[in-house]
């Protein structure tokens, strides 16, 4: 499973991601500078967390105009996997690959915490290693993680089962419907505010996020065998 992690000026979770895909999963991993326009033979593209372009104007908006985003959009349109975590999620919404937007947290505070997150469905590569309603403990660290979309968009997301992860208990940022992560209708593009890559190494205090990456790998293996 070839992995490409896009590095924007201001990305700061790129190497954490590479630590998971390269060192833990042992998959070929390439860090791709945002000025590149070719993702090559990539199966999984990851837009990591951080503060692309200093979050100037709005989180994620300037990254959307990076040369590499054209390749990311084409990759997504081919049905291949795109994962956006935190700032990466913000970029996916700004790029129109996922609906809605991420607003300033309800309580105006940057939240850095470990929170309970519920898995809503397991028929996706991202969640096939979890159980439905399984509660994960995942780290969050964001100031603008309040998911917002028009009521009709939210209704459509709920109806099509595009909510993949939901906060349990106290909602940390005011997201509509306690939404922590959503996918596109096809399920190949996932955006989430919690950081699975920061919960993938037991030495760092938890492995609840590792299942997401292992799920991709298992799904990829099955698919490759069929071919």
């Amino acid at each position: 499973m070839n992995c490409a992690i896009v590095v924007f000026p201001g990305s700061n979770c790129d190497r954490d991601m590479a630590g998971v895909t390269e060192k833990i999963l042992r998959q070929p991993t390439r860090l791709v500078w945002h000025g590149e326009t070719d993702l090559g033979d990539t199966d999984l593209v990851i837009l990591p967390g951080g503060f692309s372009y200093g979050d100037y104007l709005r989180c994620g908006v300037l990254a959307r105009f990076s040369p590499v985003l054209g390749a990311v959009v084409r990759h997504a349109q081919q049905g291949k996997w795109v994962l956006g975590v935190c700032n990466g999620f913000q970029i996916l919404t700004e790029a129109g690959l996922l609906p809605g937007t991420l607003m300033r947290n309800r309580d105006l505070r940057f939240v850095c915490d470990q929170v309970p997150v519920r898995v809503e469905r397991r028929d996706l590569p991202w969640t096939c290693q979890y159980n439905v309603n399984q509660e994960l403990t995942l780290p969050i660290a964001h100031g603008e993680g309040c998911y917002y979309a028009e009521p009709e968009v939210i209704a459509s997301l709920e109806q099509r089962g595009q909510v993949v992860f939901r906060y349990q208990g106290a909602n940390p940022n005011g997201s509509v419907g306690d939404i922590a992560g959503i996918c596109n209708p096809q399920g190949n593009v996932l955006g989430m505010m919690p950081h699975p890559e920061r919960a993938s190494d037991a030495d760092l205090g938890g492995t609840d996020g590792l299942g997401l990456f292992q799920g991709l790998l298992a799904w990829y293996g099955k698919h490759a065998c069929r071919n």
Binding site: L57, T101, R104, R106
Partner: protein, 85 residues
């Protein structure tokens, strides 16, 4: 080509909760301004550009607002445009 100066005012849509505005509303009311009813926070952008004429400049600013400067999911905008230095 003529130089133009645009002043762009971006605000959250009235239907969207503005937590920063709400916090400032409460702060002002708790000081000696109980009459303050609502505060909404926005962004102000100054932009200079050159264009063939005023209507071209207007169309360009309009397009920039829609495609880059605002997020139409949550924000609205208005702007003024003047020929200037």
């Amino acid at each position: 080509m003529t130089a133009y100066r645009a002043e762009i005012f971006i605000t959250l849509k009235p239907s969207v909760l503005d937590p920063a505005g709400t916090a400032i509303t409460k702060g002002l009311q708790q000081q000696q301004y109980p009459g303050v009813q609502e505060v909404r926070i926005g962004k102000y952008i100054e932009l200079t550009l050159t264009a063939a004429d005023a209507s071209t400049a207007h169309a360009q600013v309009e397009q920039m607002c829609q495609e880059v400067l605002t997020n139409p999911v949550i924000e609205t905008y208005r702007f003024t445009l003047e020929a200037g230095r």
